[in-house]
Symmetry: C3
Subunit: 136 residues, 3 copies
Amino acid sequence: MIQQIELTLPAFKRGCHIITSHITSHLPELPAAGMLQIFIKHSSAALTLNENADPSVLRDMDYILNKVVPERDSGYAHTLEGDDDMPAHGKASLLGSSLMIPVTNGELNLGTWQGIYLCEFRNFGVPRKLVLTLIY
Amino acid sequence: MIQQIELTLPAFKRGCHIITSHITSHLPELPAAGMLQIFIKHSSAALTLNENADPSVLRDMDYILNKVVPERDSGYAHTLEGDDDMPAHGKASLLGSSLMIPVTNGELNLGTWQGIYLCEFRNFGVPRKLVLTLIY
Amino acid sequence: MIQQIELTLPAFKRGCHIITSHITSHLPELPAAGMLQIFIKHSSAALTLNENADPSVLRDMDYILNKVVPERDSGYAHTLEGDDDMPAHGKASLLGSSLMIPVTNGELNLGTWQGIYLCEFRNFGVPRKLVLTLIY
């Protein structure tokens, strides 16, 4: 059985944001066992799971990604859309566009410290489209 | 319901390549709702979703990955298979070996700008084996 | 059809470790066609697929990740849990918390050289909880 829901997140500013409650508020009743995919239909923002308790982790995650894929590298050819654009594509592929989360006993079976992150890599974030697919 | 198809891509040269049409040409009729996995059975090439319009993004993605995991780092122990080999393994794990793409209304539910990339990390690319698994 | 199994790995020391046989020893009889998810309920360790033959790849993978997300960067704010903590979160998001592996003819359909890696990023590794979800 498959259920699908498409939704659009509000625009988030550049950086990492916990969207767990945005996601769970859109979910139907969850089954005893299954899997949820969260898919982002964009190539300059990404989804990941990480620590949900200390806001400094969100800040440092953004800091790490900005160091791994720095802006204004003279080797970039794709520069017409701004200094943030090509690094955004690089970071999007490093984190990925899809999360697969097991569903158990009617809930997302996340670890105690795992939250769902939206990482917005553009300077001016726009509303991002997600597809939720529940397999059960 | 599960359908599986194995296929071998032609050899691609080192770098990132859009293979969306290679994939879609091998798919059966897609369901109203489901999910497609594309899995690569190798550890020195990877799959990712990224921008499908400007070829300079493909070039810059390869450039970024080569900077993140550089060759000829004196710290590498696994060097017998060539300077490109250990960096290829590193890049493969950073991008990942599996894509999960929602299927909606008989089509891959990708964003407007999302294409399927094969990233070949070896200097002399070889034919790469994929497994397509459709869940519906 | 969905089957789920939760298991706890023994503690591994910091670094990358092949856990393929730990996983397969916990699996039920596998179907003719399906998919297995391996999900880790933690944000300072990760799962990936990579080369299963030469132990130097495990060592170099750890070396690469430590270079991509170095410790003791003065830009980190999240430092209370030790020098290894924030880099662990960064590396966890770069590799990811979930593996999706096709199942074919009753076996994990991995490539010849692909093994399942647990990457433990904390200095003092603890037992890590996994959720295995089989879809068929």
